[in-house]
Amino acid sequence: MKLVIRTENVTVRLGNEDIISDLNLDLEGPGLVVVIGPNGAGKTTLFQTLVGLVKPHKGKVRINNVDVTGNPKLAGKHIGYMPQLSQVNRSFPITGREFVESSILFRMKPPRLRVPGWVSRKTEEIVRELGALEFMDKPISELSGGQIQRLMIARTVVPDTPILLLDEPTSAIDPRGKLDVIKFIEKLSRNKLVLLTTHDPTVFKEKAKLLIVFWRGVKAIGKPVEVLKPEILREIYGEMVIPVKECVHLVDTHAV
């Protein structure tokens, strides 16, 4: 199984602004790659570009050596994408089960009238691992943000794609639950290429093989211990960087 994400001179323009300029990424899995950067850095745009939802102004995106630039259908064969929590319309009362099972349903040929039995079994198994079994049959309109995020992670994992992109997967999960979920993600990254964005990089310090500091492009990339240094982070986070012991914390006042 190949696990390669490569971008060639990718520039993404939204409105009149270059949100990403001239990006050349070359990531190979398996392993966990953590992307950090302040709000508006373009992290979400980066992920949307990698899965083909956003078409770059110029440049190419290759996933496992296939050109998937601006082609979500093709990119989706290799990548499972978890959007930010704010993307979900939480007012419509589908159940957690319907929500998670949609991942396989979407990947089936139409008409998608019935959910096959194996999908339900696989869904339950992964949802249980994520500690979401007890609320999976409730409507999402009655769930908390953190509960929905657990279901969103399950939904991304169920189709078993070799590459996963998780956009702020744990931003609304409570500190205790966060550790369990991160353990789960780390386990996945043993045989998948997993990229995630976060405002809380320290918890991934030991688990990530690469950390990327992002602001409209790659500002720094390397092993977490090499990159999580005040002088690197201060350049893009400014005074929000507080060194704690040998490690660095980002003061995060508005995680979505």
């Binding site: 009362p93 589908i94 319907e98």
Partner: protein, 264 residues
């Protein structure tokens, strides 16, 4: 008491069609756009009158030919970066004012007053069998193109980026849905009227949301409430001598209020 089976057929089909459309509108948060449909449908209906007199064919058929593709304007604007609600506002402004201008022209130039009123108020009791055939074809098309894809249409509304990144061809679904919404609004205009159409597009799913615990429930309750209130409204209208589309609207509204009370 006079009762014609075609009234029942028409009103049931109207309930069925709008009962299916309504949850998709709600899941995709397209309420404003959907409520704009009767405005362009009215415009199409008014344009249909002189066209029919000049070139033959029925005015209803002309309205469908001209009016069905109209909301693609909003879609095209959205592709150009205009937000859906902004595009819809422009669309409503344009179609509503054009239809008033044309209505004035039609009323002063053609002896069609009663027929125009039937578009605005709607009355299944004025229907003919050819109306029945037309809306039957529309409803069958709608069910064939929506029911097998109901899950995607709704799930897409819950998380569009996820659907697209899982291989769903979202713009195709968008266009099909928009055309069916428009087609139904025009096709049922004479049966339920311009005013009640707003209610039928929005209220069944809103009612269903109040009492549903799953996406499946929303679809089932929406269809059930729309069909039931259409039939009850018709029977009440005939027996109490009320205007039928008004009584359908009132029954649905009472259902909505009951659902609120039930939920407490």
């Amino acid at each position: 008491m006079l009762f014609e089976i075609r009234w029942l057929i028409l009103i049931t089909l109207a309930g069925l069609a709008f009962g299916v459309l309504s949850p998709i509108v709600t899941a995709r948060k397209m309420m404003f756009l959907a409520a704009a449909m009767p405005h362009s449908a009215l415009l199409a209906a008014v344009i249909g009158i002189p066209l029919s007199i000049t070139y033959g064919l029925s005015p209803g058929l002309w309205a469908i030919i001209i009016g069905t593709p109209l909301p693609l304007i909003i879609y095209a604007l959205e592709k150009k970066g205009v937000e859906e609600d902004v595009g819809t506002s422009v669309y409503v402004a344009a179609t509503a004012s054009l239809s008033v201008a044309l209505m004035y022209y039609v009323l002063t130039s053609y002896p069609m007053e009663s027929s125009l009123w039937s578009y605005i108020l709607g009355d299944p009791l004025l229907s003919t069998w050819s109306d029945v055939y037309l809306v039957t074809i529309i409803t069958v098309a709608l069910l064939a193109l929506l029911v097998p894809f109901m899950r995607e249409q709704i799930l897409m509304g819950v998380d569009r980026d996820f659907a697209v990144s899982s291989g769903i061809h979202a713009s195709l679904y968008d266009i099909i849905f928009l055309l069916l919404l428009s087609l139904s609004t025009i096709g049922f205009m004479r049966t339920v009227g311009y005013v009640l159409e707003h209610v039928l597009i929005l209220l069944p799913a809103s009612l269903a949301l109040l009492i549903s615990k799953s996406g499946r429930d929303v679809v089932l309750f929406s269809i059930t409430s729309a069909v039931l209130s259409a039939i009850i409204g018709l029977l009440l209208g005939i027996s109490l001598n009320l205007q039928v589309s008004a009584s359908v609207g009132l029954v649905l509204l009472i259902g909505y209020i009951l659902a609120i009370v039930w939920r407490r």
